[in-house]
């Protein structure tokens, strides 16, 4: 049994992003941590949490934070790990928001009269931050069994890990935490200047063409830089860059496909966890199997 730490999966990881959930939990297990799903977690608000500055949209997250507060006391650990960029962004912002605006917190506490009040001591972390600061990159390096030597990876952050600045996990204009991790795993990191560009986000619902164009550009430039795969931590970025290659290819015949992976999948592979129960390549539109077969 590893050390117990609270884990917030979020809705996507329970469905289309099973590959992200399992590779996260299993890679953490290798590092000696037992990621316990936060009991009774609810929606992070997804896009609505970003939409407006309103008390209503903070409720779901503060409720999650209160649940973490309760369970955290039980296991004696106040860290709440999220790996989905959107969940991390919403939870962390909600925490900062209510800490800054005590009146808002008071309103929320009054509204949620059945729950305990939020005391403000939950430390929301993205998995990358946890890996770097809590686990320590040196300890990760020790667990690498199959270094990803020769694999050229374009690191892709998207927007949710970096903006707004108060929740940014690294320098918001020139982050390198993901690069540092990938290098540890033995991969060759290419200079990917578009690493914090927009993927098109929810335009994917009603303006697929916009996202198709974004994908065309993001993947083409990664290709120009010599990348074999793009690594991300955001299920929405993943979906857009992966699935919308279909539109990109239709519109630009010279377009070449590139597989998109979660950085946690690469970590799992480097740790020797190559079972499809962990990697779930069936969840990918462009399968990474061919590119990664050397290490599988």
């Amino acid at each position: 049994m590893g050390k117990k730490v609270m884990f917030y999966p979020g809705c996507t990881l329970k469905g289309v992003a099973k590959n992200l959930e399992d590779s996260t939990v299993e890679s953490a297990r290798v590092l000696g941590y037992d990621f316990i799903e936060l009991p009774g977690w609810t929606c992070c608000g997804a896009v609505y949490g970003l939409a407006q500055d309103s008390v209503k949209f903070t409720i779901a997250n503060v409720r999650n934070l209160i649940k973490a507060q309760n369970y955290g006391k039980e296991i004696g650990d106040n860290r709440l790990i999220a790996v989905c960029s959107m969940c991390y962004n919403n939870l962390r912002r909600a925490h900062i928001d209510v800490m800054k605006n005590k009146d808002k917190l008071k309103t929320l506490d009054l509204f949620m009269d059945e729950e305990a009040n939020y005391e403000g001591n939950i430390n929301v972390l993205h998995y990358l931050q946890f890996l770097k600061n809590d686990v320590g990159f040196d300890n990760i390096k020790k667990m690498v069994k199959k270094p990803l030597k020769g694999l050229k990876v374009a690191p892709y952050y998207g927007c949710l890990l970096l903006r707004p600045e108060e929740i940014s996990i690294d320098d918001r204009e020139d982050p390198h935490i993901l690069e540092d991790l990938l290098q540890l795993l033995g991969a060759e990191v290419v200079d990917y200047p578009l690493k914090n560009e927009c993927c098109g986000s929810y335009h994917t619902v009603d303006k697929k063409e916009i996202v198709g164009e974004r994908t065309y550009k993001l993947v083409s430039v990664a290709k120009d830089m010599g990348a074999d795969v793009i690594a991300t931590s955001c299920p929405l970025c993943f979906f857009n860059l992966d699935k919308r290659q279909e539109i990109a290819k239709k519109k630009h015949s010279e377009f070449e496909h590139m597989p998109i992976v979660y950085f946690t999948q690469l970590m799992a592979i480097a740790f020797g966890l190559t079972s499809q129960d962990v990697l779930h390549f069936d969840k990918h539109y462009i399968s990474p199997e061919e590119v990664l077969k050397k290490w599988l």
């Binding site: 204009e173 200047p193 430039v221």
Partner: protein
């Protein structure tokens, strides 16, 4: 002798005071006092008739003290004191009761309270006034010499103007040559003058002026003293060459095998380890850079015990071997010299943020450089002889993008202000590129073009219409390398479209900040500066050249980034201030200073410890505190800490202050 014939003048300040405070009632109430012989009101006491009222009243009623109840003493204390003095009353028998900022303005909603408070403030002021002594200004001798810190165009102009008036001037410059940033420029907007042509005459005038003493490659080490009497220590940094012998022939440069980045060319070129700052340097003298010289590094390591030299080992001395006048001695000749001056001008100029501070705009790539670096590539005297070449491979670029406002107007990534000169120099650089390479594609990304100077807007239109520069209104979000090119990704806000251009080179107009050395100098001079390294003037509009420290002035870009025209104007302006200060043999100083009663003083030294101006010493024989009147600023810190009230500020004595407080503290 307490005053018995006091006149009180209550100002309406238009409606500022009279709109809230019932001035008639105040005058009546104050008029009831036995020691007041006149209590009256007037609409504007600071006006000519208002001042005349004081003058006439002093004579008519034979007043022995005056209280003017009006605005803050920082505004009109001097006006009122001068008016009384004209009628023969000692000006220190005039006090101001501030009933505008203290009564009328804060209690606008409660006229009754404001009126009662005004009466109380005036009564308290009368109590203080009654024990005021008549004083005469103190005279301090003046040293008729000036110091200018910084040998850029502003500092040179200031030094030349002061020297021309017959006052000996010391000019200190930290670089091996004078000329400053202006000497790095290719051509200047909007006239396209070449700085090497228009600045060298000035530089030579400075070097040859009989009244200017020039210290280059030197820094101000320490400043002591006060207005009219500063003692300055100047550190002459080690050159390892005897400048009295060096003829500037340059033979040593030809044989030196070691290299380092050229400071003058801002890393756009290498120089030898023994070097002359540039070909037109003033003074034209060689010096050795300790950090790259093979011999000096070797000697240093031997000294630190890191290397044990073999016997008879021959260490590089190529420069010394070819030096005919035998000027190169490899000895550390750092030296501190002392100078005494009466006034100081700080003209330390500016720096620009480095390109590396903006990795998202490509600052990490070799061919993405700052505008100031690009000036060197455009300068005919520069490392590429005026035809820009890429630092990475020496290729002449066929396309260049210029990016405005890099770090400027951007509090998150740089500074909140507009750096003021970038629009114009970027337009100029775009033009010069077109001069040098007709067919080059030039893209100019701007947010707004700010061309607010004489001939500036016309210059901008020439660039657009005659030179075919592509001006794109919008910010650049990213610059990255694709193959051999740099892709500039931005937005055209006029068409609302994303713009992408692939170019060979990118020039970033990075934000200007105060010189990195300015903070050290400012601390030594006790003058304030802001978080961006700009020196703070006394008043932005009306005292832009003055500082809160008497006798210390600022000029040029040290105060805030400005173009050459404005820098030269400020240099002359500050020089005029210095000339006025040094035109008299003695300076008058306010006599409101600390005084010691030696009968009471026990010489405990508490006052000395509190004094921020080092104005107090303990007389070792009599064992009492002694105040240097020239240094004392009358702040009162000593008095507040004196256990026996032996040291007190004149006209601010304990009894006076307590009486005033008693009146103020009476229950309403």
């Amino acid at each position: 002798m307490a005053m018995k014939r006091i006149g009180v003048f209550i100002c309406h300040c238009g409606r500022n005071i009279a709109g809230t405070v019932d001035v008639k009632r105040v005058a009546e109430e104050i008029g009831k006092r036995e020691d007041v012989v006149l209590s009256t009101t007037y609409v504007f006491m600071c006006s000519q008739p208002g001042q005349k009222l004081i003058e006439d009243s002093v004579k008519k009623y034979n007043l022995d003290g005056v209280v003017v109840a009006n605005c803050s003493p920082t505004l009109h204390e001097k006006t009122m004191r001068n008016a009384a003095a004209r009628a023969g009353l000692n000006p220190y028998r005039v006090e101001i009761a501030n009933i505008r900022e203290w009564a009328a303005w804060p209690h606008e909603d409660n006229p009754e309270a404001a009126t009662r408070k005004a009466i109380r403030i005036i009564n308290a002021t009368i109590e203080k006034l009654k024990a005021n002594a008549s004083l005469e200004p103190i005279e301090v001798p003046v040293i008729r010499r000036a110091l200018v810190i910084g040998g850029g165009v502003a500092g040179m102009q200031a030094a030349l103007d002061i020297a021309d008036s017959g006052i000996e001037t010391i000019l200190v410059e930290k670089e091996p040559t004078i000329g400053g940033n202006m000497f790095r420029l290719s051509e200047t907007f909007p006239t396209l003058d070449c700085p090497q042509c228009i600045l060298t005459p000035k530089m030579n005038d400075v070097a040859g002026h009989p009244n200017i003493k020039l210290y280059t490659y030197s820094e101000v080490d320490d400043v002591e003293g006060f207005m009219g009497n500063f003692k300055v220590k100047i550190k002459k940094k080690a050159t390892f060459v005897d400048w009295n012998k060096c003829t500037g022939c340059g033979e040593c440069l030809r044989v030196c095998p070691a290299h380092a980045d050229s400071e003058f060319d801002l890393k756009m070129a290498k120089r030898t380890s023994i070097y002359i700052a540039n070909e037109q340097a003033v003074p034209l003298k060689a010096l050795i850079d300790e950090n790259s010289c093979i011999r000096l590094q070797f000697e240093k390591k031997v000294k630190e015990g890191k290397i044990k030299p073999k016997k008879n080992v021959k260490i590089c001395s190529k420069c010394a071997d070819v030096c005919e006048p035998n000027a190169i001695h490899f000895q550390n000749n750092e030296e501190i010299v002392e100078e005494e001056v009466g006034a100081i001008i700080v003209a330390t100029g500016y720096e620009v943020m480095p390109a590396e501070a903006f990795p998202e705009l490509g600052g990490k790539y070799p061919d993405v450089i700052t505008s100031l670096q690009f000036e060197r590539l455009l300068a005919p005297s520069g490392p590429t002889a005026g035809i820009p070449r890429r630092p990475s491979d020496g290729k002449v670029p066929e396309s260049i993008a210029f990016v405005h406002c890099v770090g400027s107007r951007d509090p998150q990534n740089g500074v909140p202000y507009c750096s003021r000169i970038c629009c114009m120099y970027t337009i100029k650089q775009a033009m010069l590129v077109k001069h040098a390479m007709h067919d080059a594609a030039v893209y100019d990304f701007y947010i707004d073009i700010r061309s607010n100077g004489k001939g500036y807007e016309e210059f901008y239109h020439r660039a657009k219409e005659e030179y075919g520069v592509n001006f794109i209104r919008g910010k650049v979000s990213k610059v990255y390398r694709v193959g051999d090119k740099y892709r500039v990704q931005g937005v055209d806000t006029l068409t609302g479209r994303i713009v992408e251009v692939d170019v060979d080179m990118v020039v970033l107009a990075t934000a200007a900040k105060g010189s990195s050395t300015v903070k050290e100098i400012a601390k030594k001079l006790r003058i304030p500066y802001d978080e961006w390294g700009w020196l703070k003037e006394t008043h932005l509009k009306l005292k832009p050249l003055e500082t809160p420290v008497g006798g210390v002035y600022i000029a040029g870009a040290a105060q805030f980034i400005k173009d050459i025209t404005d820098s030269v104007s400020q240099g002359s302006g500050a020089a005029a201030k210095v000339m006025a200060l040094l035109s008299k043999p003695e300076l008058e100083k306010e006599p409101l200073l600390a005084k010691v009663d030696p009968e009471i003083c026990a010489g405990c030294g508490r006052c000395k410890d509190q004094c921020a101006y080092d104005a107090i010493t303990i007389d070792p024989v009599r064992h009492v505190s002694v105040v240097n009147e020239a240094l004392c600023e009358g702040c009162g810190a000593c008095s507040a800490n004196c256990p026996t009230t032996a040291i007190q500020v004149v006209n601010f004595k304990k009894g006076q202050v307590i009486r005033a407080v008693d009146v103020l503290a009476e229950v309403f």
